[in-house]
Amino acid sequence: MKGNGDIRIGFYICHCGTNIAGLIDVARIAEYAGTLPGVVVARDYKYMCSDPGQDLLREDIAAYHLMRIVVASCSPLLHEQTFRRAAEKGGINPYFVQMVNIREHGTWVHDDAEYMTGKAMDMVRAAVLRVYAHQPLERKQVPITPDVLIVGGGIAGIHAALTMADAGKHVYLVEREPTIGGHMAQFDKTFPTLDCAACILTPKMTAVKAHPNITLWTWSEVEKVDGFIGNFTVTVKRKARYVDEDLCVGCMECIEACIYKQGKFPDEFNMGLSKRKPIFIPFPQAVPPVPVIDPGQCLHLKKGTCKDTCVEICADRKAINFEQEPEYKEIEVGAIILATGFTPFDATRIPYYGYGKYPNVYTALELERLVNASGPTGGEVRLPDGRTPERVAIVHCVGSRDEHYNRWCSRVCCMYSMKLAHLVKEKTHAEIFNFYIDMRAPGKSMEEFYNRISSEGIHLVRGRVADVYPETLEKKTNGQIGRVIVQAEDTLIGRIRKIPVDMLILSTGLQPRIDAEEIRRMFNISCSAGGFFLERHPKLAPVNTFTDGIFLAGTCQGPKDIPDTVAQAGAAASEALALIDRGVFELEPNTAYIMEDDCSGCKSCIPLCPYTAIAFKEEKQKAEINEALCKGCGTCVASCPSGSIRQHLFEDEEIYREIRGLLAYA
């Protein structure tokens, strides 16, 4: 291996407080780096990413005429851009920087200090050798299409859409259900303020519909996503609604006129607690206020035999169209915000809570509908047999914090359980028992809310419910039919409590949507261990994904309450705005290129490229790479038999130097 000749290299190792220096001997590593060929200055510093740290780089570049920089610190995925910018400000090409990841891949995962110090030296050596071969590169810019796609019309999607639209950008808001509103539309009141969800949500929903910059497509799904940051091509399927949105005036007379005089099918919006007709609107304030026909239930669509009373009443408005076919729209957008939300945990998965088995066991979302004035009972909390419950138990953490189901804390259940306790108590004067493991009330006004509700005289039992069974099975009491015993250890008094209740409410946690995996693939982003979409950095890039131009908002990224969802939606919107307003995006210059003289014209690279960036030029009998299409995976580079395809930033020579440097055989 050649020495580094006359290339002058600066080496910096970061203490990262004690994150790195707490384990390994940074001074010794710096000293060692100083002995490596080409290294003219080697320093250790407390925080390289800080302003003084970056200043140090710039000053050294001038003072020592540095031509290359190696920084041993954290992951390049975190701070590579930081140090490239610093190098650029110092007057050298930004791609003359190489990072050594001794934190995430070093001190955070190993605890043998001596060995790790040696390993860090290996890594430093590799980087010093590699950086020598770095080539100056130009940043490449691509223009950004100014329109944006937002997937999901819950509160996150709505807020992001309004923010972007108000800033003058054109927004396509795509929602799978017949209306926007999401889960928030189903809630009765919201904690900690106890204001009514509909009162604060529906004005925003109408604003979406009225906004000139928003194209709202409900009953629609994204089918296909192509392209990349600034230039996505998205295909949206508009499912057949059988009611023409442009012609419908929202009078709802068709629903009234339907041949089914009564609701016959479980009403999804009311969690199946009421029945609806085949032609329906999820709830009165739905946006758009256009009914939808379920083709599996409508007599005309299913059997072709119906008096078509809906068509008759619609008369010359002619909004009902049984011939409607799904429509496919292709749009060009520069950025995408995913706001696809969550699914509540399926309570039937925990057999010992009796959901689906005992009729008086409810999920929290069902209760939201039951206490809601526009819900199936007009806001009266009644049991299936018509009685008003006298004793009610609320079980926290259903499906959450559990290795068998979801490991995470769902974050909102403690507070919504307290809210439900308040609402049910207010409406029924029932005795309420909240069974909790730990009461979690972080966030503004939450502890005060907890304090307020607990002072209302509910029983707080610290213990996870372990069993639910009919009271009739209990020997000691005269079991009342229809009541269930809730059995748990009250850990604060150290006794097993068996509390008979009329109604049991399961505070089910939040989990990723069933099809999150498919969505993830379609948009080419990653998921966290639990299946929520993965943000680029948990703290510093919480709404970005690893795919540039795609942002996250709301509970698709992880459980959160409404204030946090809205805050995140705003953040996602402003990130997208910042991108669009810049007008161009800088691509990592890691594209492949061909050394034409060496190319034998064998064409083996051409079918390998997933982006059809390689073409064969007949006149020259050589392959040619369109760098605008190349995404820089390097697959063609590795497969070229004559070695004539190379990749910027990942040149063979650079990688060989890294390998040799790492191993520098003893």
Binding site: S526, A529, C633, Q647
Partner: protein, 174 residues
């Protein structure tokens, strides 16, 4: 080899060294996640970042082994999850061919491993590396550089048997 570069681990007893090629989007990120989650695992791996497992030239693997690695680990996105659509399939094909070749060369197949590790599977980085280190510990050093020295001696001896060897060599360099 450049004499000016000193090795850093002479004093230590032998511990297997693995060169790992991780793709930027899944496995490298997973290794970062393992770090952020402070999972402790065997420190014997040296990771080289590439954009895609499809970038990994079989020559890289051979180079690593010949420079003294006791094993090579390739990490890529799960099938169907490749950031570049299908680079990992290319890696898989190359892996199988190369593995066959390495086995033919007398290198134990446990020394060369391909794993699909997604960005969220920090724990898999830990288990895979621990497992591989344990296997390599049992296999002992591969130590091709030392063998190369022995081969050099053999070559020197062979030269002596070739009349006018220097002339051939010069001719070959022209």
């Amino acid at each position: 080899m450049n004499e000016t570069i000193e090795t850093t681990q002479t004093a230590q007893p032998w511990r297997p060294r693995i060169v790992a090629f991780f793709c930027n989007w899944c496995t490298y990120t997973a290794a970062d996640l393992a770090g952020v989650s402070r999972m402790k695992y065997a420190p014997n791996t040296r990771i080289i970042r590439v954009m895609c497992s499809g970038r990994i030239d079989p020559q890289f693997v051979l180079e690593a082994l010949s420079e003294g690695a006791d094993g090579v680990l390739i990490g890529g996105c799960h099938p169907g999850d490749c950031h570049y659509a299908e680079g990992n399939y290319k890696a898989l094909r190359r892996f199988h061919l190369l593995r066959r070749m390495l086995i033919g060369m007398g290198i134990d197949e446990k020394r060369f491993r391909l794993e699909w590790i997604s960005a969220s599977e920090g724990d898999k980085v830990k288990t895979v590396i621990n497992d591989m280190v344990e296997q390599l510990q049992q296999l002992g050093p591969l130590d091709i550089p030392a063998r190369r020295k022995a081969w050099d001696v053999e070559l020197e001896e062979a030269k002596a048997q070739v009349p006018r060897y220097e002339e051939f060599e010069e001719a070959a360099h022209v």
